[in-house]
Symmetry: C3
C-alpha cells in the first residue's frame, strides 16, 4: 500500500498539483499523520505556520511544505505551493474515502411497495422508505433512516444512521447527510390568534442540490409554501438550523451551530463561522463571510466580512472593539479634562 515520494509527486502531477522532492525520493510512506503524531513510514504536512516549531521535532518520514519553508536539519520534504491541496490528494490516494457496510437491499428494511429504487442499492436493516419515494442508483441508506412519502433522491446518495427526511423533499446526486440530521420538519409557522398559536400547515418542501454534504444533527425546515433550498456543492457542519423558505446558494460553507431564520436569501460561496445567526427576510450577498457568533440583522453586500452583534463590517467592528477596550482610558481623560477646565475657569473667573 506504500508509495515512494517520487511516486507521490508523479501522482500529484496527475492531479495538476506541482510538487518536488527535496530529499530521498525512494523513501516509502504508507499513511498520513499530523506533525506531532507522525512516525516512521508516515507522511505529514505543514500548512498553518503556527505549527512550524513542530516541523523540527516531527518523526515523519516526509513532510509536505511550501517552497520557501526552511528547516534546520536533514529531512525529506515535498515542496509544493499548496500543501493543503497536496495533503488532500495524498489522503485520498493513500487512505481513500469511507467504505460502507454492504447490505444490498436488506429484507429487514421496510420499503413500501410503491417505492422505486435504482440499481445497486445498499439499504440497511431498520431503514424505512415510504410510499412513492424515488431513489437513484448506488444509494447507501443506514439503519434508522426514515424517508417519508413522495421524496425524490438522486444517485450516489449516502444517508448515515437515523437521518429523517420528511415528505416530498428532493435530494440531488452525491448528497451525503450525516447521522441524526432532519430534513423537512415543519418550520415555526403559526398565526397568532388571541395570544394562542394556530398552526399553519407547512405544505412546501426542501430541495437539496448535488454534491451537498450536511453534518450531524442539523435541522432544515420545509417551506410553508414553495421550497427551502440548499444549493449545489454547499457543505454544512453539525447542529445547524435553517428556517422555512430560506434559500442558500451554491458552494457555501457553514460551521457548526449556525442558525438562519426563515425566508433568508444567501448567495453563493458564502462562509458562515460557528454559532453565527441571521434574522429572517434578509439577503446575504455572494462571497460574504460572516464571523463566529455574528448576529446578522440587515442585508449584507457581496464580499463583505461581517463581525459582531449586531454584525457590522469587520473594520468597523474592530474599531468598535478597540475603542470599547480603551473606554476606561477615555473615561479618565474626560475626568482630567473636567478637572483642568474647572481649574482654568476658577483661574479665569478669579482673574
Amino acid at each position: 500500500m506504500g508509495l515512494t515520494l517520487t511516486q507521490l509527486t508523479e501522482f500529484f502531477a496527475s492531479q495538476s498539483i506541482p510538487c518536488e522532492v527535496d530529499g530521498d525520493g525512494s523513501v516509502v510512506v504508507s499513511s498520513v499523520a499530523t506533525l506531532e503524531d507522525a512516525r516512521d513510514g508516515q507522511l505529514s504536512f505543514l500548512s498553518n505556520p503556527k505549527y512550524e516549531k513542530e516541523l523540527a521535532a516531527t518523526r515523519a518520514s516526509a513532510v509536505l511544505v511550501r517552497p520557501d519553508v526552511k528547516v534546520s536539519r536533514k529531512m525529506n520534504l515535498l515542496r509544493t505551493p499548496d500543501p493543503y491541496a497536496a495533503l488532500t490528494a495524498a489522503i485520498v490516494r493513500i487512505h481513500g474515502y469511507r467504505q460502507h457496510p454492504q447490505w444490498g437491499r436488506s429484507a429487514q428494511a421496510c420499503v413500501h411497495a410503491s417505492a422505486v429504487i435504482g440499481e445497486k442499492p445498499n439499504i440497511a436493516p431498520g431503514a424505512h422508505i415510504d410510499e412513492n419515494v424515488r431513489i437513484g442508483r448506488n444509494a447507501t441508506i443506514y439503519p434508522g433512516v426514515y424517508i417519508a412519502r413522495g421524496c425524490t433522491i438522486g444517485d450516489d446518495v449516502v444517508l448515515m444512521p437515523n437521518v429523517v427526511i420528511y415528505e416530498g423533499c428532493v435530494l440531488g446526486n452525491r448528497v451525503t447527510i450525516h447521522a441524526g440530521s432532519i430534513i423537512g420538519e415543519d418550520g415555526l409557522g403559526y398565526a397568532p390568534v388571541n395570544e394562542k398559536w394556530v398552526k399553519i400547515p407547512q405544505v412546501g418542501n426542501v430541495i437539496i442540490g448535488d454534491d451537498v454534504e450536511i453534518g450531524a444533527n442539523c435541522t432544515i425546515d420545509r417551506a410553508t409554501l414553495g421550497s427551502s433550498v440548499i444549493g449545489n456543492g454547499t457543505k454544512f457542519s453539525n447542529l445547524i438550523a435553517i428556517g422555512h423558505g430560506t434559500k442558500i446558494g451554491e458552494d457555501c460553507l457553514f460551521v457548526a451551530q449556525v442558525g438562519i431564520a426563515g425566508s433568508v436569501g444567501v448567495g453563493r460561496h458564502v462562509t458562515m463561522a460557528g454559532q453565527a445567526g441571521v434574522v429572517g427576510h434578509i439577503s446575504i450577498g455572494d462571497n460574504a463571510v460572516i464571523g463566529a457568533k455574528a448576529g446578522v440583522t440587515n442585508d449584507v453586500e457581496p464580499g463583505l466580512i461581517m463581525l459582531g452583534q449586531p454584525a457590522v463590517p469587520i473594520n468597523e467592528c474592530k474599531r468598535q472593539v478597540a475603542i470599547v477596550q480603551r473606554l476606561p482610558q477615555l473615561k479618565n481623560e474626560i475626568k482630567r479634562l473636567r478637572r483642568d477646565l474647572d481649574q482654568l475657569m476658577k483661574q479665569v473667573g478669579g482673574g
Copy 2:
C-alpha cells in the same frame, strides 16, 4: 378540489375572518403559493410590506391583502384586515395538515405487554414502547421512537421518527414532537468532589402540556427532583435546550437554538428569538420578548423586550449600540477638547 374566491370568502366568514372579493369572485384557486412562485390557479398573499413590489409582478390568480393596499393593475384581490389569519385558514382548507402513513398497531413495533394503548393506534414498525407506558387514543408513533417505562401520553399525540422519551415523562393531548427530539434526558447534575464530578441521580421527570409542538432535535432535561414543565400551547422550533427543573408557561414561542439553563421560571406567552440564552435560577415574566442572541442574566419583568448580551431593555440596548457606533466621533471630540483646553490654558497662563 378548487374553490371560487366567493366560496373562499364564505369559508373565511365561517371562521370569523372578514374578507371581501375585489375582482372576479368566480375565479377558482386550488393551491396556495408565495407571490414569487404563484402561477395561474393559485392563491397568494401579501402580509409583510417588504414584499409589496412582488405583488405587481405575481402571476397568482388572487392575492390576500389588507384593505388599504393599492395595486397599479387589474388583479383579483381578497381584502381582509388580517391576511395572515386568512392565509392560515386558506392553507388548512385547501391543503390540510400532514397525513400520516397508516400502520395500525404494527406487529414489528416492540410494545411491552404491560403497556396500555388507547383506541385507533398508529404505531410503526421499529417503534419501542416499554413497561407500564400508557398512551391515549389516536397515537401516531413513527419508526425509531423510544418511549421508556412509565411514561403517560395523552390522546392524539404525534411522535415523529427517532423521538426519545425517557422514563416517567408525561405528555398531554395533541402534543406533536418532531424528529430526533429527546425528552427527559438527565440534566447536568453533578456534585463537585475534589475536582471530580459525582453524578446526582436525576429522579424527576418532564411534563408537557396539551397542544404543545416541539421542533426537531431539541433536548428537554428531566428535573433532578420534581418536574421540568412545558405549558399548554407552547411551540418550540429546533435544536432548543431546556435545563433541568425549568418551568415554561403556556403559549410561549421559542425560535431555533434557544437555550435555557436549569431552574428557570418562564411566564406565559413569552417569545424567545433565535439563539437567545437564559442563565439558571431566574424568572421571566409573562409576555416578555427576548431578542435574537440575547443573553438574559437577571429576572425580566412582564412585557419587557430584552436585547443584547447581557440583555437589557430594548431602548437601553439601542441607545448603547448607537453610542458604541458613535464612539470614534466621541473619541475625536475628546481629543479636540484637550487640544482647545491646552491652548486656552497656555493663553491664560501666558496672559
Copy 3:
C-alpha cells in the same frame, strides 16, 4: 424503603459527610423533593440561599441545611457543611441510579458475526453493531444505536437510544452517552479549489475516556488525522459540538450548546457555560472558566475566568460592560465640557 434521620446521618458518616440531626431523629423519609414540592415523608435541601424563603414554607419532613442556617419555626433539620454533597448521597441512597430494561442479548439486535461482546450484555432489539466491534462487560445498548466497524468500547458502558458511533472510535469504561448523540462524524474538512470544496477524507477517530458522560444530541467530530479526545471524567450537557482534532482534558464540565472548533486544546477541569464558543487552533488552560455565550478567540491562561465576545478576563469584561452602560452619561459630560470650554474661550478671547 424509608430511613430515619438518624439512619441517614449514619449513612452520611459512612460517606465521610458530617451531618447532625437538629430535631427528631426517628422521623422517616422515603423520597427526596425540592422545598416547594416536598410533602410529608420527604427529605428536602437548602443549598442556594436564593431559596431561603421557601424553607419556612416547606412541608418536607426534614431539610438538609448548612450549620448556620436559622429557621423561625420548629423543623427537623439535618445540618451539614455541604448540603449539596449530602443531597447527592441521599438521592443515591434513597432513589438510586437509572434502572435499564433487561434485554440480554436480543435476537432482534443486528450484531455482526465478527463483533466481540463481553459478559452480561444488555443489547436491545433494533441496535446495530457492525464488523470487528469490541465491547466490554455489562454493556447496555438501547434501540436505534448504531456502532460502526472497528469501534472499541469498554466495560459498563450505556448507550441511550439512537446514539451513533462512527467507525474506529474508542470509548472507555463507564461511559454514558445520552440519546441522539453522534460520535465520530466527519468534520468540516474541505480543501478550497476554485471556489469549490474538495472533501478531505477524515481518517482519524474519536477517543472518549473513562467515566465520561455525554448529553443528548451532541456531535463530536472525528479527527482528520489522529484523534479527537474527550478526557476521563468529563461531563457534557446537550447539543454540544466539538470540532475535528480537538482534545479536551479530564474532569471538564460543558453546559448545553457549547461549540468548540477544530484543533483546540482544552486543559483539565475547565468549565464552559451555555452557548460559549471557541475558535480553532487555540489552547485553554487548566481550571479556566468560560462564561455563558463567551466567544474565545485567543489562548486562555490556566485558571482565568473569561466573559464576553470577544472573551476577556472577567474583571475587564465587567468594567467594559459598566462603562458601556454609563456611556450616555459620558456623552453628556463631553457635551458639557464643550459648552463650558466654548464659553470660557469666548470669555478669555473677549477679555
